[in-house]
Amino acid sequence: MIGPESHEMNWNLTDDQQMVRDMVREFVAAEVAPNAAEWDRNKYFPSDIFDELGKLGLFGMVVDEEHGGAGLDLIGYCLALEELARGDASTCVAISVTNSLFCAPLERYGTSEQKERFLCPCVNGEWLGAFCLSEPGAGSDAAALSTIARREGGDFLLSGSKAWVTNGAVCGAMLVFAVTDPESSRNRVTAFVIPADHPGVSIAHEEDKLGIRSSRTNQVALDECRVPPEWVLGEEGQGLAIALNSLDGGRAGIAAQAVGIGHAALVSTLDYVREREAFGGPIGRFRGLQGKLAMMAAHIRAARLLYLRAAWLRDNGEPDTMAASCAKLFASETANWVSYQAIQMHGGYGYVTDYPVERLYRDARVTTIYEGTSEIQRLVIARQLTAGLG
């Protein structure tokens, strides 16, 4: 017989997690959300707001207190990202890349000198980080990189072009992945951490994007960029593993960002259907719309639980690859579907900039693309499911 004790599954947040969520929520409501539409319209990167966010410690949320960071667990970090994305997905992605794709790998693989030089400025809110993996001809197929790091004397000379670099033009330092051993299949790539103003690094191009328009996305050109061996992150040849591990850790964060976008679209729509009258009363009284809103809310809630669970697994050192991919896949597809429906319910008003939903719709779009497309997430999940079969 099963014993009498009944355990309440615990979905409650810790005090620290609630505190960071509330702090970010408050800041976003006051400083970010009211300006997001204008920043989007002007493709304006709000440096002054980032100064404030840096002072709040949001550039180094995941960094251990030992290294001066906030020492947040992944759950708290994801909650903060969701709050940022509710207000402005562009602001959110700049913070997300800095934390998951710059600070986290530096903390995990960096030497103490590297941490001192490159991590501390993030933790202190002085600069943002960037992650240079993709190239014009290599996206999902990260092993196909063509940026070369060739030995010269004791140094490396990096040449090539990096694409889709978030924060490229506004970062203090970047993580650059380049080929050091073209003959090897497993140890082909090495990670380097390079100051943004280093000779040989230049911002070649700024992308004109569908969404997250107030964030910076650049092509970065490396032209005979001389890098000392002290800037190699981890071991030579370990680059691809570092890249994939960083992306794994970032997936729950992108899922949280997508949930934030979807949540904002839902909230805006719930307000709208209450205000907007047609056929003699608010349109929210129509059952067809009520049913759709219920599905939107259910998907958003489930997506939130998926990212919380993925984050919990990583925080507790348990395998999280599948959970993180499920969360990213479900949340990003949900954000797209929800924001699409949100526009539909706003009718013509949803199609113009009077309401936030058209921006949310554009901002949602990238979430199924960056940090592993939905297609790549499906492959990752399927491989886990069929490992050892066939």
Binding site: H7, R287, G291, A302, T386, L389, G390
Partner: protein
């Protein structure tokens, strides 16, 4: 936060998983009417699974909604037909436990919870697109009790049950009567063939001046509030069944693709279907667990219908993919996956269709704009 199962919960899940394997083997036979669900139900009763909602003094374990969700997923993975009958019994047990007097519990909870008394809650699902399942029966005061009249067109578990819990209106008051199926004036119809959930004892019932002794009225508490909780428990249980269907579809598919040298494992269209099945099943499972952990407190009342919605949707999609992955073999009657597909579709209708669940959610997120769908006012 700790979204894991406790050791106790894991033990319960594993026990149920072991017990239901025989039900899984019989599921296609139950579906096709070769055998009835009675054996399976008795098996669950003997293993003390059916009685989890009974009080400890009557062989149960005083379970809560989380346990209900876990048990439901396991039974649903084996046979959703058996699942809907079991859930009607478990929710009825909850009502008996919450509203019954000590004498009533003594009478209707068998001493060892061996389930010789199978309970069904008489809720009519025939108008499921338009309203929550309700019962149109009414009672009239009589010497020493009441007379019960009324009928319901589609009630789950009827042809399998021993006793019925019947919500009846007496004037403006909602009362719950326990009625033996062989009482004078009770006539139960025959089960028709269904698309899905075949063999779940779905039938009509008519009450003609059935005498209900005062001792058969469950009234030791707030009946309306308890019935609202019962609705949420049905949602949790049915969501759990749907998660089980989704899981069974995924398991059948991974087993199928591992054959024939694993060529299908490497086929991208199959990989994508598997990934979506796993993702949507996990999403529905987490939402079901979450709703279950919140239901009793009444907090987040929208979570239970949300879980029910998402889980039914996921079960249909997953089982449809499972049929597709199995190719022509999946289309064969008795393939297992075609039953999952039919059962999943029926779960979109069963006991409050998805439309009704959507309105229950909408009522919470759009307060003031949505008519309260609950029949329990």
């Amino acid at each position: 936060m700790d979204p894991r199962l406790s050791e106790t919960e894991k033990a319960l899940r594993d026990l149920v998983r072991a017990e239901v394997s025989a039900i899984g083997v019989a599921a296609d036979d139950i579906d096709q009417g070769v055998t009835t669900a009675a054996n399976a139900i008795n098996g669950l009763a003997t293993a003390d699974i059916l009685g989890i909602y009974a009080p400890e003094t009557h062989g149960g374990c005083g379970a809560g909604p989380v346990e209900l969700a876990l048990v439901s997923e396991e039974i649903g993975a084996a046979s959703a037909t058996v699942g809907v009958v079991a859930i009607s019994h478990m929710v009825s047990s909850f009502l008996l436990d919450t509203l019954g007097s000590p004498e009533q519990k003594q009478k209707w909870f068998p001493a060892d919870a061996d389930g010789t008394t199978l309970l069904a809650l008489v809720l009519d699902c025939a108008s499921s697109l338009l309203e929550s399942p309700r019962c149109g029966a009414h009672g009239e005061k009589a010497t020493g009790g009441f007379y019960l009249d009324g009928k319901a067109r589609a009630v789950t578990g009827l042809t399998l049950s021993d006793s019925l819990i019947v919500p009846m209106e007496v004037g403006d008051t909602l009362m719950l009567a326990i009625v033996e199926v062989d009482s004078d004036g009770v006539s139960i119809g025959v089960e028709a063939r269904q698309l899905g959930l075949n063999g779940a004892g779905l039938a009509s019932v008519e009450f003609n001046r059935v005498h209900i002794p005062a001792g058969s009225i469950l009234s030791a508490g707030n009946v309306v509030e308890t019935m609202r909780i019962a609705d949420d428990l049905f949602r949790i249980g049915h969501a759990g069944l749907c998660v089980g269907i989704g899981r069974a579809a995924l398991e059948a598919s991974t087993a199928y693709v591992s054959g024939a040298g694993g060529a299908l494992c490497r086929e991208q269209s199959v990989q994508w279907m598997l990934a979506d099945m796993a993702t949507e099943t996990e999403a529905a499972r987490l939402l079901t667990w979450y709703a279950a952990s919140r239901t009793v407190s009444g907090e987040m009342r929208e979570a239970a219908p949300m879980a029910r919605l998402l889980a039914a949707d996921g079960a249909v999609r997953a089982s449809r993919s499972a049929v597709q992955i199995s190719g022509v073999a999946g289309n064969e009657r008795g393939s297992g996956v075609e039953r999952l597909y039919r059962d999943a579709k029926a779960m979109e209708l069963h006991h409050g269709a998805v439309e009704v669940q959507q309105l229950a959610v909408a009522g919470e997120i759009l307060p003031g704009l949505v008519k309260d769908m609950s029949p329990w006012q």
